[in-house]
Amino acid sequence: MDFKLPFKMTFWKVVLLLIWLAGLVATIIRVTGGLGASTNLSDKYPWGLWVGFDVICGVGLAAGGFTIAAAVYVFHVKRFYPVLKPTILTAFLGYLLVIVGLLFDVGRPDRIYNPLLMGNFHSALFEVAMCVMFYTTVLFFEFSPNLLQRLGWSGPKRWITKITVPLVILGVILSTMHQSSLGSLFLIMPEKMYIFWYSASLPLLFYVSAIAAGCAMVIFESHLSFRAFGHKLKDDVLADVGRILLVVLVMYLLMKIYDFTARGAWSSIFIPRMETYMFWLEALAGIIAPIILLSIRRVRLTTVGLYATSICVISGFMLNRLNTATTSFIASSGVNYFPSWAEIAITVALVATGFFIFAMAVRYLPIFEHPETHDRPKPLAYQTEETLELETLDLNAR
């Protein structure tokens, strides 16, 4: 997990190259032999690791992008500015990888643009596809100042700074829509899903848990960047992210308790079967352990404590999405699906590529440079003191 090493030690370089080699072989099999040759999917089990992990987990883990952007630009929590850029970068990379993952998963990647031409407004997947497409564009613009600064193009950079607030609000709306709609994908299959994971509240549960995962990713990647490049953040920034994470997790826990009570799911939580174990693993790692850890001041205020907690939340989150998308369907499908080596190889290669590009970007772009000025973008009316004075006087007159 320590990604400073690919650049300094040959061992990790070799590992990365091996992962890419395996990914390449798997890609060749996928392209030449189709889904049948490369995956363990079948007519009875049409969605597997690529949908469950590469797409559904990937989008959720990138949720830090809209959360932190909203905090900094909409709610003016300027303390979070130092984590904004790496978070936007992670989100942008995350979405790009999700799109690459989708290209592997869909049977006709050559028609991937079809939803743009012939959308079905009743399909949750159509909504997700459109939002992912537009939000990736938004993220590109949010990320672009780093590139423009590096290239020394101040003109376009100023132009983008001007539209930052509408851009961020658009990003928050698009994210709210598709993070929740990833949950809506499952609403139509109540009879196929195991009791722990089907709920009419899936859209809301997915939305809130994505925010938690996003916060955890901020802590996780800040810590990794620190270890790899020595970019030290003030600890209190991450401790604040940790506090938000705690609040979101408690909210999620309460929603889950309400949901389980409303659906009468409690009676199933001790039935000894595979689904129960997976559920407990998910609940302990993703909700209960981090809530306990974050409630302890000493944990919340130390880098290592926060880092450990973020790993708990991220694993719990991934388990939740994988459980919802795969474990939940095993009983009703009657098939024991386990991903093929090619499915795993491509997934691992995508994650490794994400780490690699992140490390490269941090190296060559001003991601962790603390900006000289980061004035919040102002609408034109406020730009001179005269207009401000006039408005103030006007207010006083009233």
């Binding site: 392209v31 030449t32 889904l35 049977g107 399909s123 997947l125 609000i169 919040r376």
Partner: protein, 251 residues
Amino acid sequence: MEKQKGLLIDVTKCIGCGACVSACKEANGLPPEIEEELSADSYTVVKEKDGMYYRRLCMHCEDPSCKSVCPVGAFEKTPQGAVIYHANRCIGCRYCMQACPFNVPTYEWKKRAPKVQKCILCYHRLKEGKATACSEACPTGATMFGDREELVAEARKRIQENPGQYVDHIYGEKEVGGTSVMFLSAVPMGEFGFPTNLPDYSLPQLTWQALSKVPSVVIFGGAFLYGVWWIIDRRMELAEYKAKRKETDKS
């Protein structure tokens, strides 16, 4: 308006000869090999359990999940009742297969440009006013083609006139809001692995309850966020300005 067509399959009359399967394969240009399960090469199969024979095929829902979930609108419920598939739209996301309550759509897993495959109620024949190939081939009348309304009436009549011979349930009359293909049987269809926990309302409305809220999320969410931004920004601006003026007043 054209009347909805349908099939009534009476499990008690089926002798398992497989004539329907062969006729289907011929009518739809599928390879003639007989298979055990539905596949991209078999739109229907005949299966046996405890000496009873039953068919598997697309149920042609009134409000089909496959049509609802498809992001590119590749499925269509025709006025004749057939649920058909437009392969030229399909991107291969396989959401239709995942969402189908009867696990009917299948995929051409081995092909490099794969399509989804499923029974289309011989739509090409329906358009010409003909019955489905399977019903025409059936030697015992176990698969009966007709107007859906009439088929329901016929099914009721059979249940009433032959007490004890049938379970008092027309499978597909109400399941997921009704289907164009219906079954009559001496044992509950659950015995043959058909889902019995289906609601009698259409499943797509479960998605729609969430999706229909999207426009209001966009409008109110956008307005709310912009409002929050504006208020906080304005307050900070005023605070800065006041602080500055205090300084200038002092000096």
